[in-house]
């Protein structure tokens, strides 16, 4: 069996912390109004990228995920506006 990768928290060095915890591409999904997709979609996209069937998803900067709830709310409002109309 392979060696275990252990990640430790908290890390006092912000730069170090960024390297240890990757910033996820589920943020891509949320930025594009796809809150329902991740993290399954992210895993799936990474797998497809590894198989050279799709482009690798892009990671985002720290703290980007904190805006996720607002994006989810705007997604819902957008979907309702589109489906129910005025």
């Amino acid at each position: 069996m392979g060696a275990t990768v252990e990640l430790k928290y908290p890390d006092p060095d912000p730069g170090q912390q960024t390297r240890r915890a990757q910033w996820s591409a589920p943020k891509v999904a949320f930025a594009r109004y796809q809150p329902g997709l991740s993290p399954y979609l992210h895993y799936w996209q990474v797998l497809r990228a590894r198989r050279k069937l799709a482009q690798a998803p892009t990671d985002f900067e720290p703290d980007a995920g904190r805006s996720m709830p607002d994006q989810m709310k705007s997604t819902l409002e957008d979907l309702l506006k589109q489906s129910l109309g005025s």
């Binding site: 069996m1 915890a21 996820s24 497809r48």
Partner: protein
């Protein structure tokens, strides 16, 4: 324009949909939706002789796999189709026809279906099967599971239970049908990995076409604009086993919001879903900080294995975040180390340094700076799908909530990961292991409730409902057997231990599982089981009640109505058994 909605909502997905949709199903240039559906006879939703009365009509919508839209049960005695519109999401896209506003697949409207049915009656084409082939719904040259050709598939059974009426029954005319055929690859993926965008687009489609059908009826009958507002009952006999189950997912939020607000030019909208079939699968449990559970991963699983943990709600995410500990067979325990929302990290790697287990931190805002923390763990397949890919060791894994985590209940749920009947995915279901969980009693009978189990098991039979059905307004249908009218052992339980908001007869008896259901061809039948068959019965019953003038706008009112009409009103009302196949 519906295409805009779908494209803007799921742009990235649609840029690379090849995992689910064939390339030739993609519409390269979606058109604006205009009013031609109200004037062009070729785009008509229904024949004038099939239009419902605006006062008693109620649209039944079915979103499923391989719905046989040419089936006799979806026609009237005059030969006209009751299917106003069906969207076949993975069919080869065509130009210059209905559905040109859709991002993929084809749409067939009542007028076109009527034309095919007339040609079949005249002997110009050889029957129903030819209709499916000529429309491209069945295409054996495509590299996909041909579920549309199954003799008695899931969609045929569900659609006929929800909306099928004998041609001799005039009630059928009250219930025009709007349907969506989901792609087979979506059905094959029991985890629902790629389900949300296609389900949401299906909801958008149903609501949009329902509104247009109302406008169409107004136009054909010379009524005022906005005067026809048919209610809509949408059946979705799909589900997954892992999720927050608190109504906080986008799917649940959307269903709740649509049911609550409705559309200004449409009647009430109701969603009906199955309660689920996972009560005894050992997929759900509750842990406290410091608790640990075993997690058995079977060998030869060629799909990933996900598990979700949902913590208590907390104020803000400024202090230490939720932490879990995962232990793979032969490895040391590894704790998560998240520092902010939507991070992921590798938890376990193999000897070559390749990742075999990963975790995502997925908190949700559920109120005024109130968060519900969540972590999703993804384990690689235990049998690599392709040579050279890293794979996880099968056997007994362990998962724990860190002792330092905030006090409260942590719901743990294993995602559904099984082979769907008729599909080949190589999936194998994992499950939780708890020494306090007893499968059988001393007499060898299955233990069906947490109370009967005794002790304090961490793996539960309650809280096992379908994770799409945790919203405040969607209706959950559970299954009982015909002989005793008691919950069937597989029927999942809500948090309060009930089998749903309403129950419907599915299995013949506890010793005789299965229900006789309609097959793909008119007159064909098969035997199926599961709460997927209870949901369409509830949808049908509700549509019938709305058609008869019942004014029920929410879950409790619908349940109360069912209680007054049921011979078995409590503890959960059992709907009258459906007589699908009347005796002559």
């Amino acid at each position: 324009m519906i295409a805009t909605a779908m494209l803007s909502a799921f742009e990235a997905f649609l840029n690379d949909p090849s995992a689910v949709l064939p390339a030739d199903s993609i519409n390269p240039d979606p058109a604006e939706f205009d009013d031609s559906d109200l004037s062009d006879p070729a785009l008509a939703y229904l024949s004038d002789d099939a239009l419902p009365c605006p006062d008693t009509g109620c649209i039944i919508a079915v979103i499923d796999d391989a719905i046989p839209f040419a089936h006799e049960r979806l026609r009237l005695a005059n030969g006209h189709s009751r299917v106003a519109s069906i969207w076949v999401q993975d069919a080869r896209c065509r130009s210059g026809a209905s559905g040109s506003d859709l991002p993929n697949g084809i749409e067939l409207r009542g007028a076109e279906i009527d034309d095919y049915l007339a040609r079949a009656r005249a002997g110009q084409i050889p029957g129903e099967d030819a209709i499916y082939r000529l429309t491209g719904v069945v295409d054996m040259t495509r590299q996909t599971t041909q579920s549309t050709a199954f003799a008695h598939g899931h969609g045929a059974a569900v659609a006929m239970l929800a909306a099928g009426f004998p041609t001799s029954d005039p009630t059928g005319r009250r219930h025009p049908v709007i349907a969506v055929n989901l792609p087979p690859k979506l059905t094959e993926d029991s985890m629902g990995t790629l389900t949300p965008p296609l389900l949401l687009s299906s909801f958008l489609f149903v609501i949009h076409r329902a509104r247009r059908l109302c406008r169409f009826i107004e136009k054909r009958q010379g009524r005022d604009h906005g005067s026809v507002r048919l209610p809509v009952v949408i059946n979705l006999s799909y589900g997954v086993t892992a999720g927050a189950r608190d109504g906080s997912s986008l799917l649940e939020l959307f269903m709740d919001a649509v049911s609550q607000s409705g559309a200004p030019d449409l009647g009430d909208i109701h969603f009906v879903l199955p309660t689920g079939n996972g009560r005894l699968e050992r997929l759900s449990g509750v842990l406290s900080p410091g608790d640990e559970l075993g997690w058995r991963l079977p060998p030869d699983d060629r799909t990933m294995t996900p598990l979700e943990i949902w913590g208590p709600t907390r104020a803000g995410l400024e202090s230490e975040l939720m932490q879990i500990v995962l232990t793979a067979p032969g490895h040391n325990p590894v704790a998560t180390a998240f520092s902010g929302p939507w991070q992921y990290q590798t938890l376990v790697s193999d000897g070559a340094g390749q990742e075999i287990a990963r975790a995502y931190y997925t908190p949700r805002l559920v109120g005024d700076n109130r968060w519900r923390e969540g972590i999703t763990v993804m384990i690689n397949p235990t049998c690599p799908e392709r040579l050279g890919e890293p794979f996880a060791p099968p056997g007994n894994w362990r998962i724990a909530i860190a002792g330092s985590a905030p006090a409260g209940e942590y719901e743990i749920c294993v995602q559904r990961d099984e082979v769907i009947r008729g599909f080949r995915s190589g999936a194998r279901q994992s499950w939780l292991i708890d020494p306090a969980y007893r499968v059988h009693d001393e007499a060898g009978r299955l233990i069906l409730t947490d109370a009967e189990n005794g002790g304090a098991p961490k793996v539960l039979r309650s809280r096992t409902l379908n994770a799409y059905a945790g919203g405040r307004r969607s209706l959950r249908a559970g299954a009982v057997d015909a002989q005793r009218r008691s919950l069937i052992s597989y029927c999942s339980l809500l948090h309060d231990g009930q089998g749903g908001d309403c129950l419907a007869v599915v299995d013949c008896a506890i010793t005789q599982p299965g229900m006789v259901v309609s097959g793909r061809s008119s007159g064909a039948f098969g035997l199926l089981s599961g709460t997927s068959l209870a949901a369409p019965q509830l949808a049908r019953w509700l549509a019938t009640q709305l058609s008869a003038g019942a004014s029920v706008t929410n879950r409790s009112a619908i349940r109360a109505l069912a209680e007054t009409l049921s011979e078995t009103p409590g503890p959960t009302p059992v709907l009258p058994a459906l007589r699908q196949f009347p005796e002559f």
